[in-house]
Symmetry: C2
Subunit: 237 residues, 2 copies
DNA sequence: TTATATATTGACTTAAAGACTATATATAAT
DNA sequence: ATTATATATAGTCTTTAAGTCAATATATAA
C-alpha cells in the first residue's frame, strides 16, 4: 500500500459521510403440524415498538466477520441452531422503509427442522403459520420481505430439493412429498415425485424402514441439501 | 406514531453507532465484436487508486430514493442509457473487503446493446472482454463480484431469454443464438434453439426481413425482456 | 448456370414428467 | 384365520419439449 493511500486511510472517518443504516432480516421457516410456519418477533424497542417483525437487526462490526455470520448469529439467538439451511434472498434499500432514515436490509431465509429447535419458549418470539403471518401488519416493510422470502422458497421448491432441510433426520418419501405440497400449495403426482427424488439420488435409504400408518414406509435420510443441485426439469406449473 | 416513538426518533443519531459502509457495484455487460464485454473503471481516487474496478459507488442519500435508482444513476453516468436490463445479483459484506472498514456492496448486473451506448469515450472507463477482465487484478473483491455476476448471467441464459437485452432493435435468430452461445461458451443445436425461441413467442417477426450474408434471414424484434419469463425446460448441460 | 454458404423446415429420437392402474403390506374388523 | 381398508410402491403408457439429423430454400459469387 502506498504511503499516499495510508495517509488517506488515516484521515478517513466514516462518520464524515451520510450513509444508510444496514440490517439483516430473515424469514426462518419450519413445518409445524403440517403447516409452513415462520418465526416472528414481538418488538419491544423503538421504532415500530409493539409490532411483529421478522427477526433481524444490525450487523455487529466487532463480532461478525461477514453477512452470513450476522445471519447465523441471529438465527442462533432465536433458535439455538448453528447450521440450518441459509440462503440470501435479496437486498432492499430505500429512503422510506425505516423512520430513522435511508436504510438497507439484506434478506435471508432459513429452513430448519422444528424438532431440533432449542429455544422453543423465547418470550419475545413466536411461530406463525405463514398464511396468518401474511395477514398481520408487520413492522417496517416486513410483509413485503416475508412475501419475497416465501416466493423464493416456493420457486426453489419447484426445481431443487431444498425442502429436505425442513425434514427430521429420518423421513418417508410420502412425508417429504407432503412438505413439498405444503410449500407449493398444491398436490403433486405421487409416482412422479418418488421417481424424481429417487433417480436424483438426493436421499439415502436407511434400510431400517418402518413407521406409523397402515403399510410401513421406508425411512430415508437426506444426502445433504445443496444450493447448487437442480433437478433436470422444474415441476410443471 | 406515538409521542414516545417521536421522542426516540428525535434523539436518534445514526452517527452514534458503528455501521458498515454501503455501496452499489455493477457488472455492465454488452456484446462487442462477437465477444462478451464488461465495463471497467480506472480508479483515480483512494482507496485502491490506479486499479481497475467495476463501476459503482456510494448511495446518494439525497438523490437516490432506492437501491435500483442508485444502480440506474451509476449506469447512466457511465453509459448514457436510462433503461437497460438491470437485475440485482447478490450482496457481499465483510470486515476485510475495503480498507476503510466493514463494508457491504449490493451487486447488480446490467445488459445493454453496445450500439446504444452514448458515452463511448469516457476517459476513466473502458470495455474489456470478460475473459481479459477476469485476468486483471481488480480493486477490492471485484474479481469475485465479476465472477458472480457472470455466473448469474450464464445461469439465467440457460432458462430465460435475458440475452435478448444485449441485442440491437432488430436481429436474426442466428445472431441471437450466437449471443447465447457466447455467454454459455458452447454451441447450441440450431433447430432446437429456433423452436424454443419461436414457440415461446418472446420475439416478434418484423416481416421486413433481409440482411447480410448468403441467404437473407428474417429480422425479429424483442417482445420485451422479463425477469419472470422462464422456458419450460432449461437448456441441456 | 453452378457452386457455396447460410437460413429454414421436417421428422425421428430421447428423457423426464404426468396419468392411470396394479400390486404389496401393514393394521383393524369380522 | 380371513377379510376389509388404507397406505406404500411399482409398472407402464402418454405427453412434451429438447436433441439429432437430414432435406430444402435462397442469397451471392464464380
Amino acid at each position: 500500500m502506498s504511503s499516499d493511500e495510508n495517509k488517506y486511510l488515516k484521515s478517513y472517518n466514516i462518520k464524515d459521510y451520510d450513509i444508510p443504516l444496514a440490517t439483516v432480516d430473515m424469514s426462518i421457516f419450519s413445518i409445524i403440524d403440517g403447516t409452513l410456519n415462520v418465526l416472528l418477533i414481538h418488538r419491544d424497542t423503538h421504532p415500530e415498538k409493539g409490532k411483529l417483525s421478522l427477526p433481524g437487526g444490525f450487523i455487529n462490526l466487532k463480532e461478525d466477520q461477514n453477512l452470513d455470520e450476522t445471519a447465523h448469529r441471529k438465527l442462533f439467538e432465536k433458535t439455538g441452531l448453528k447450521s440450518p439451511y441459509l440462503e440470501q434472498v435479496e437486498t432492499t434499500g430505500n429512503a422510506t422503509r425505516d423512520p430513522r432514515g435511508w436504510s438497507v436490509t439484506i434478506l435471508y431465509f432459513a429452513l430448519l427442522d422444528f424438532g431440533k429447535v432449542k429455544e422453543k419458549a423465547l418470550k419475545d418470539s413466536k411461530w406463525f403459520p405463514v398464511n396468518k403471518a401474511k395477514k398481520e401488519k408487520l413492522a417496517f416493510d416486513h410483509n413485503e420481505l416475508l412475501e419475497k422470502a416465501f416466493d423464493r422458497l416456493k420457486s426453489r421448491t419447484s426445481y431443487t430439493a431444498l425442502p429436505m432441510a425442513l425434514m427430521p433426520n429420518l423421513f418417508t418419501l410420502t412425508e417429504l412429498q407432503t412438505v413439498f405440497e405444503i410449500i407449493l400449495e398444491k398436490k403433486l403426482p405421487i409416482k412422479s415425485f418418488r421417481r424424481r427424488i429417487l433417480t436424483a439420488e438426493v436421499v439415502i435409504p436407511t434400510g431400517e424402514s418402518k413407521l406409523s400408518g397402515k403399510r410401513n414406509a421406508q425411512l430415508f435420510k437426506s444426502k445433504g441439501v445443496s444450493k447448487d443441485f437442480y433437478f433436470q426439469r422444474p415441476l410443471q406449473v
